[in-house]
Point group: C2
Chain length 418, copies 2
C-alpha cells in the first residue's frame, strides 16, 4: 500500500535515513581542550609519545638495587653480603654515584635504578645488618625492573586520530604529559521552534498558546550524542521571518533543525523556502508518527523540519537525527541494548508505514533489568499531541512496514527511550 503526503508518495524510512547519512560530512573543525574536559571527545590528531614511558629503568618492588652477577650464587644457606651505599626513593633523580661490585642501594618501588645496578632484590629475600645486607636468593638481570620504554617508546603513535577518548585513553594522554587534547569540535545544532502559538517556557502563557517543548527535547538529545545545541528564538509563521531565521541559523550552525508549529501556513512556507534555497532530500515519510518530516541541504548543510507534536518530534530526532549527528561528531554508531518484553495487548499498524510505538514496561526496573517475572510492554500512546505519550513511556518498539497486526502476547524488543 502506498501512502501520500501533500499528493506525493511517502519515502521509506530506510531510504530517507540513507539520504541523510549520504549528505552528512563528519566535522573537520578542531579545538584544543583541557584534559579534565576531554572525556567522550574524539581525537583530531594522532598522539605520539614524546619520550619513553617509563622514562627511566625503575624498580617494581621495594628492596635493593644490585648487580645480578654479584648475587648469582646467593642462597639462604650461603648469603651474599653487600655494602649498602645509599637509598633511592620514588621521585628522586637517578643518583650521580654508581653501584660498584660488592655494593648495593636500598630502593623503593617506582624509584629510578642507579647506574651499575641491573636487578632489584625484594626485601623478603634479604637481611639487613647496619651498613650491610645479606642477599638470600639469586635474581637474574632485569628482575623486578621495568626497563625504560617498555610501556611506550618515544616516537610511537599511541592513539590514532579518530580515537574516542574514554577515561582510559584520557589517562594515556596524561601519562605522556599532555594537559590538553586536540579534538574535533562538537557539531553545532541550531534548533528553531516555529509557530505563532508557541511560547518560551518561563514566560507567561497567553490564551491560545502552548509552551515550546521540542527545543528542549531535541537539545537534550543533541547534547547526549556529542553535539552542541544552539537554542534560537521562536520563529513566527511568516515567510520573511523564516527566511531570516534560516539565514542566521546557517551562519552559526552545522545542522539546522526546525520544529514545526501546528499552523497550516508554515507547512507550506518552509518546504517552499528550502526548495528555493537548496535541495530537498525528502518531504513526507512512510512512518508513524513523523509523516510530515522534511529534510534538505542548504549551503551544504542539513536542514530538517521535524513535526511539531512532541512525541513525533522526539521520535524522529531519535531515529533519524541521532545517526546523522553521531556521524557528524565522528562518534561510533549508537546501538542501545534492547529489552525483551511481551506485548500485553494487540497492536494494529497501517501497511506500508513503519511505526515507532512508545511503550511502558512492567516488571522492569531501570538499572536492574527484570524483576523476576516476565517483562510486559503496553502502549504508552495517548494522542499525537500529548506529552504523556512521552513521559509515561519507558521505550519504543519498531513495527516494520509489512506488519499490520501484532497479537497480544507477541515478543517485542523494546529500545529504551533514555
Amino acid at each position: 500500500m502506498r501512502h501520500y503526503h501533500g499528493g506525493k508518495p511517502l519515502m521509506a524510512f530506510d531510504e530517507a535515513l540513507q539520504r541523510l547519512l549520504d549528505a552528512t560530512q563528519p566535522i573537520d573543525r578542531t579545538e584544543c581542550v583541557p584534559l579534565t574536559g576531554c572525556v567522550d571527545r574524539v581525537l583530531a590528531k594522532p598522539v605520539v609519545a614524546p619520550f619513553d614511558v617509563p622514562p627511566f629503568d625503575r624498580a617494581t618492588m621495594d628492596g635493593y638495587a644490585v648487580r645480578a652477577s654479584d648475587i648469582a650464587k646467593a642462597s639462604a644457606e650461603n648469603p651474599t653480603t653487600l655494602k649498602v651505599v645509599g637509598a633511592i626513593y620514588a621521585g628522586d633523580a637517578p643518583p650521580s654515584w654508581a653501584i660498584e661490585a660488592g655494593t648495593c642501594a636500598q630502593i623503593a618501588t617506582g624509584a629510578p635504578l642507579p647506574l651499575g645496578a641491573d636487578c632489584v632484590v625484594p626485601f623478603e629475600d634479604t637481611q639487613r645488618d647496619g651498613e650491610l645486607v645479606r642477599v638470600l636468593k639469586a635474581h637474574p638481570v632485569g628482575a623486578n625492573i621495568t626497563p625504560r620504554g617498555l610501556d611506550v617508546r618515544s616516537g610511537t603513535v599511541v592513539l590514532n586520530e579518530g580515537t574516542l577518548l574514554t577515561p582510559a585513553k584520557v589517562g594515556v594522554l596524561a601519562a605522556l604529559g599532555f594537559d590538553h587534547a586536540c579534538v574535533y569540535a562538537k557539531p553545532r545544532i541550531a534548533i528553531l521552534p516555529t509557530g505563532n502559538e508557541v511560547a518560551r517556557p518561563g514566560t507567561p502563557l497567553r490564551n491560545g498558546q502552548i509552551y515550546d517543548t521540542n527545543t528542549y527535547t531535541v537539545a537534550a538529545l543533541a547534547q547526549r550524542h556529542g553535539c552542541e545545541p544552539l537554542t534560537m528564538e521562536i520563529v513566527p509563521d511568516e515567510e520573511e521571518a523564516l527566511r531570516r531565521a534560516l539565514r542566521e541559523a546557517l551562519e552559526g550552525a552545522d545542522c539546522v533543525v526546525f520544529s514545526a508549529g501546528s499552523a497550516v501556513g508554515e507547512r507550506d512556507l518552509l518546504p517552499k523556502l528550502l526548495g528555493e534555497r537548496g535541495k530537498v532530500l525528502f518531504h513526507g515519510l512512510a512512518v508513524r508518527p513523523g509523516r510530515p518530516t522534511l529534510a534538505a541541504v542548504v549551503d551544504g548543510k542539513l536542514v530538517v523540519n521535524l513535526p511539531g507534536f512532541p512525541t513525533s518530534c522526539l521520535m524522529m530526532a531519535l531515529v533519524l537525527l541521532v545517526p546523522v549527528w553521531r556521524k557528524m561528531a565522528r562518534l561510533p554508531r549508537w546501538q542501545p541494548p534492547t529489552i525483551q518484553a511481551t506485548l500485553t495487548h494487540e497492536v494494529r499498524s497501517p501497511e506500508g508505514l513503519r511505526q515507532f510505538l512508545t511503550v511502558r514496561l512492567k516488571n522492569w526496573d531501570e538499572g536492574r533489568g527484570a524483576r523476576g517475572e516476565e517483562i510486559i510492554a503496553e502502549s504508552a500512546y495517548k494522542e499525537s499531541g500529548t506529552i504523556t505519550s512521552l513521559s509515561d513511556a519507558d521505550g519504543f518498539i519498531v513495527i516494520p512496514e509489512e506488519v499490520t497486526h501484532l497479537p497480544a502476547g507477541t515478543p517485542v524488543a523494546v529500545t529504551p527511550l533514555d
Copy 2:
C-alpha cells in the same frame, strides 16, 4: 586459599563493595538548573502540573469548528450549509464571539475552539463557497478535538522526585512552562594524587618523575557517572601534607579519592592517618589488580585510597567506586551490556582472588558489534605499571575467586572499558 596484605587477610570483593555501599548516603543537596542543562540530572522535587495541558480545547485537524448537532444529518448527497463567521489560527486567543446555530469558523490545527463549537470537520469533508461552507459528512461531539486537560490535569504529579531527566522528561518540564528544574546536586569527588615522584601533565618532567595519570582517569569516570570531580594538588609523601590535604578535601567534597604513589612511606602514612581520623572499612582486597585498596569513613564521608598503578587504579574505580558514586548521585545502577567473545589463549588466575583482566577484542567494531566472524578476546595485560595495558584494551573480563584456569577457547563475557 587465603591471601594477606601487610599481614592481614584480604577482604573479598563482594563484601568490600557492600561495606562501601552501606556507608554511602544518597546526596541531599539540591540546585536549580536551566532546562537546557538538566538532561541526565535527577529531580529533587515532584513536578506538579500548574495548569491543564492542553490549556484549552484545541483542533487536531485543519477544518471548520461547528456545533455537532447542526451537522448530524450531513452527507455527500444532502450537505448541510453553514455560514463561516470567522477564522482562528494557532496562537490566536479563543475568539470573543461564539458559534451560533447555523454558523461555523474556519480553524487550524492547534487553534483554540471557539465558544459554542463542539466538533471539528476536516477540510476534506467540506466544500467552500464564499461565506458559506457545505458539510458533506456528520461528525460526533468531540471529533478532531483535544479537550482541555486531556494530556495532564492541573495539580497532577507528572514526574516524581527521583526521576532521571531523559530528553523526554525534559520535554515534560518544558510543556508545563518550567524553564528550570530543581535537581540533586552532583556529588563532588575530590581526587588527590600522592607521591613525590608524581608530576602534573603540562609541566616539565624532572629526572626520576612520572606524570600523574590517575587524576585524569578517575575524574573522567566520575564525570561520566553523574559526579563533579575536584582535581586537587599533588600531595607529597609527608604526614603533615597528607593530613592537611585530607582536611581540605573533606571540606569541599562528598567523597575523597587518593591515588597512591608508589613510594613506601605513604603506604603506611595514609592507613595510619585514616585510622586515627575515622573508621577503616577495609585495607587489602582479594582482587587482582587492586590489592592495596583502602577505604574508610572520615567525618561521615567516604575516603578511598586507590592503588597508584594506572590500570589498577582505573579498574578499582570502575568496579568499586562507580556503584558508590551512582548511589550518591541517585542514578540507576550501571549495567553495561557485555560482549560475548572467545578467549584466544589460556589464562591462569590465583585461587581466592577475583581477577579483572583487561582484554583486546578482535573481529569487533565499537558501535557495530561483531564483524561476521567469532569475536576473539586476548589479554591486554603487559605489566602492572604500564598504561598500554589500558590504552590497548577494549574491555575486561572478571575471573571469579574459585576459578584458577581458563583454557584457550573459553567463552567469556567482556565488559566494555569505555
